[in-house]
Subunit: 246 residues, 2 copies
DNA sequence: TCGCGCGATTGACCTAGATCAAGCCGCGAT
DNA sequence: ATCGCGGCTTGATCTAGGTCAATCGCGCGA
């Protein structure tokens, strides 16, 4: 048994930002830590920042120093090429990490932009490495998070490489639904935080195609759409779109 | 300066597999380590395995225990869905790591298949985590490698989401050329280890489109193709295909 | 309250690349 | 040397989704 630590002298703001108080801790970096380990992580994470809708949390090319845990809100990340081509690489919600792309080259390789007023916790990366050298559980969990990000990207590659428009959109909706569910929200009813164009960019489609596919889903009674408000009426029906292939 | 260590009592096979002797060490995991640190890593990596052309190094669903460094040869990784859909997620060559996808779920999420007779070094993952808790440089370098994998995947997403067929193929050829160069081979002349179908799967194209694009590049004097043998005749010309967009 | 503007929808048409089909080529096995 | 076959090339046609264009309508700011 690890012996108990003296209680840390925490300022009010530190208490406020403590992971140990955060209701997202089971979704976030400090998953599965003991109380004692959690106390170490609380030391690590003591700065929070609000990011307004439309603001960048970081930009491609800017110096990498920290990763970020989303405390509340909704983000998109995108990459862009010199020639103006760009692509949304992901949408991130509460409990997910941002900034892992920056580790490899000491610079961020994409932009992270808030799609609604949001709040993030700073996780200074050098400190994270330091503490994860001491706490095996944290080290291992961090590796898992990075690995899952790679697996997720492979899933998107599969989507972009092999699926037709309606399959992509169905996958997208089911994925959102599942993530909202994991956060205690309705699996069937939610507001999209992104535009048709952003959805299209992520899915490798034009906004008109996204719009048309939504309309078709509605005609078929799979969902009801009204601007950004989505209600999923027939989850098995959406899943069925993905089966019976080739 | 690190002080010198007593010579370790290494068996012949251990000497043979030592990273410190490996001419790929500047491309591989133990990049930038001191002699002393390198000795620790040598302890970690002491099993090599030959994988024949066509054989699986690992399969999706199999238990994850180890990552692998490619000592020689050439691999592809692919993911497949229940419905038969599949997609090549990458081609890997000497000095690159395989298996990072398995960390997140204790199981591999893709298949790794040798495209020519190859040899890999086993890197037992639990031991890697252990040692990287002690050697900061190694820890940090490993994180960089994972992060770069994420960035690479974002690049593929951009390719799949926004590029036309010839742009994809040009990007592919330039990428291969650049990686061969980094390994001391000719940037302009090489043999493809994969079929048109595998290239197509990776690039989200059908094999016929790959073939036609190769032919067009040849007509335009950008490359010469003869089955798997490729000679790049005009690198700036290939790069130019990617510019002047939108 | 009104009007403006961005985002979304819908239609008509076009095109890159998929699909289908017919050879061809090079290589390994007999 | 020959056969057979997997991989590649090339042609003809088809189509999903892109492009262009016209409206619509919600939300926001004056």
């Amino acid at each position: 048994m690890p012996h108990s630590m003296p209680p840390a002298d925490l300022s009010l703001s530190a208490i406020k930002t403590a992971c140990s108080n955060c209701n997202l801790r089971e979704l976030c970096l400090p998953f599965g830590l003991s109380d004692q380990e959690m106390a170490r992580v609380d030391e690590l994470i003591n700065v929070r920042k609000r990011v307004k809708r439309g603001e960048n949390l970081y930009r491609a090319g800017s110096r990498f120093e920290s990763i970020y845990a989303i405390r509340s809100g909704f983000f998109k990340t995108d990459v862009l090429l010199e020639d103006g081509r760009d692509q949304v690489t992901g949408f991130q919600m509460a409990g997910e990490l941002l900034g892992l792309d920056g580790i490899g080259n000491e610079r961020h390789s994409c932009n992270a932009i808030a799609l609604e007023d949001s709040e993030v916790c700073y996780i200074p990366f050098a400190r994270l490495e330091e503490i994860s050298r001491e706490i095996q559980t944290l080290q291992h969990h961090f590796h898992k998070v990075m690995s899952r990000e790679i697996v997720r990207d492979h899933g998107v590659m599969l989507l972009l490489g092999t699926m037709r428009a309606e399959e992509r959109l169905s996958t997208f909706l089911l994925n959102l639904s599942q993530r909202f569910t994991a956060r205690g929200f309705s699996p069937a009813e939610f507001n999209l935080r992104m535009t048709r164009e952003e959805i299209g960019s992520y899915l490798g489609l034009k906004l008109e195609t996204v719009s048309r596919s939504f309309s078709r889903f509605q005609e078929e009674g799979l969902i009801s759409v009204q601007q950004k408000h989505i209600r999923i009426l027939n989850i098995p029906g959406l899943k069925a779109l993905l089966e019976h292939r080739n």
